[in-house]
């Protein structure tokens, strides 16, 4: 980091009034569990919510057969999608997922978010939160 950026960044920070949104938005871990054959559909859907990194893992569900039938979840081969999403986009993503869970045939699933308390590395934070660098952006924490 060069010295020239430091005073500018400090001024930006001090310039924020209490009502202005913070420059640093928190991240959340969005966990989505869906049927294996719908993996691509849901990863594509999630990408439209500024999610830049997703981790897809094969899994299987453990709900009893009666419960599965009741929920229309006969398929037990599952995919767990771990996505890192910016806090302000999480609600919209969950709403969209909820709508798809209710309307898509065989697309039933579950999604929830877990707050993330820290990330190391400014560039990684910018990548994960999909916020292109304003200036050098070395202090994005």
């Amino acid at each position: 980091m060069n010295d020239a950026t430091k005073p500018r960044v400090r001024r930006q920070r001090n310039g924020h009034s209490a009502s202005e949104p913070s420059a640093v938005k928190k991240l959340k871990l969005l966990i989505t569990v869906v049927n294996k054959n719908k993996t691509e559909f849901y990863t594509d859907l999630l990408q439209s919510f500024e999610i830049n990194m997703q981790l897809v893992m094969r899994a299987h569900g453990t709900a009893g057969s009666e419960m599965l039938h009741y929920m229309g979840l006969e398929e037990s081969e599952k995919t767990v999608i771990f996505s890192l999403i910016r806090e302000d986009r999480a609600a919209a993503a969950l709403a969209a997922l909820d709508e798809k869970f209710r309307t898509i045939r065989g697309g039933k699933g579950i999604a929830y978010t877990v707050p993330i308390s820290g990330v190391i590395g400014a560039a990684i934070y910018q990548f994960l939160s999909n916020q292109p660098t304003p200036g050098k952006g070395e202090n994005a924490r």
């Binding site: 569990v33 094969r58 569900g61 453990t62 767990v80 969950l94 997922l97 579950i110 999604a111 877990v114």
Partner: protein, 118 residues
């Protein structure tokens, strides 16, 4: 901050995921998801603690209401804890928003009944 739901993560030796779910269901859990994983504990730890660590693991994630979290964690400790053949560890993470749970859906029979009335 209060959370209505918690995600319980339980990592056990391969083959013990059913035991995990049995213990969790006893206290009200409804379903979970099992992922395959591999443990990476250090060789030194094995000699110090006089245990053998099986690298093949199963990771069970269960979403539960916060009210029953402690009961389930205790049940997991008793039935698949480190002192059992399952050699499991369990922890929970706060969950702030959930969509897609079974109780949010209209019941199949109720939907049919209302359709008939209309």
């Amino acid at each position: 901050m209060n959370f209505d739901y918690e995600m319980i993560v339980c990592i056990v030796n391969v083959g013990f995921s059913e035991a995990v779910m049995d213990a969790a269901k006893e206290f009200g859990a409804r379903g979970g998801t099992v992922l395959s994983a591999r443990g990476t504990a250090a060789k030194e730890a094995e000699t110090i603690f006089k245990i053998t660590i099986q690298p093949e693991k199963e990771m069970v994630i269960i979403l539960v209401p916060t009210a029953i979290r402690d009961d389930i964690l205790h049940a997991l400790y008793r039935s698949v804890g480190l002192k059992t053949p399952g050699q499991g560890i369990a922890f929970s993470l706060p969950v702030d928003h959930v969509v897609g749970l079974a109780q949010d859906l209209p019941k199949r029979d109720e939907t049919k009944k209302t359709e008939r009335k209309d």
